[in-house]
Symmetry: C2
DNA sequence: CAGAATCCGGCGAGATACTG
DNA sequence: CAGTATCTCGCCGGATTCTG
């Protein structure tokens, strides 16, 4: 019986869970995905990631820096110039995340089709429930 | 000039972004990671994922079902028995996510070390700022 | 330009109670 | 057992203002 169940950790406060929560973060994911090799400035990232607020980008970048995934380089010029770059660790994560992005691009059609089908099934059921006394 | 920047979409409301938000969801990630081949019952998933509330597990499973990633099978017995299983699409995502989990396991040490180092640097700086007039 | 600090409103998510 | 339904609170995150 090759009952090979991968049953990893499980506790909410284990390291893997805590790190996954970070990695699975909406903005973190996008930053890591965008920072490909080259360095990027703060405002450049801000423009590249539509919808991110200044505050959330700052917070996200600080977390990533703390996790050792990006480096933050401040150039003492005026106006200030701050550049962000993936560390080696960050780049190894980048590659994993990139495969996730690629997966999403490849299957977005199947997913939106599934959503449409599901919604139609659901609204159809609701329609039937609306008039259960019919006939 | 091989300025090969992968610059994918960018808009907050594009399909890839919307799907990534779902995929990058904390509970979704864990459910997909846990559902490996075999089917699992609701309560089984609930026990396996420490910290998830009944409500959030229900919501998460509904979303995954809507996205065509899991199937939901209700057995009309009493007490009710509901089983969840990955679809083919869901399993292909499972493999990507699994590589993410593996990455996390392999690098959790580096990350926690980086966090410790960062925190020490930070508190040290704060300590210096606390007594700038010293001497 | 790249933040830090502050304020605050919405809603995500937990707790609880009820049901087929 | 596997959900719904409802209420409520916390805090996430946006908007704004102020610096080096």
């Amino acid at each position: 019986m090759d009952d090979q169940v991968v049953q990893w950790d499980t506790r909410a406060d284990c390291d893997v869970r805590k790190i996954l929560d970070r990695v699975a973060d909406k903005w973190s994911l996008l930053v890591i995905a965008l920072l490909d090799r080259r360095t990027m400035r703060f405002s450049e990232l801000r423009r590249a990631i539509d919808g991110v607020s200044q505050r959330m980008l700052t917070v996200t970048l600080r977390q990533l820096e703390r996790d050792g995934l990006v480096t933050r380089t401040v150039y003492p010029v005026v106006p200030p110039r701050v550049e962000y770059e993936l560390t080696a660790l960050g780049f190894s994560l980048h590659e994993v995340i990139k495969s996730l992005v690629v997966w999403t691009e490849e299957h977005q059609r199947e997913i939106s089709d599934a959503r449409t089908a599901y919604d139609e099934r659901t609204t159809e059921e609701e329609r039937l429930l609306q008039a259960p006394m019919a006939r």
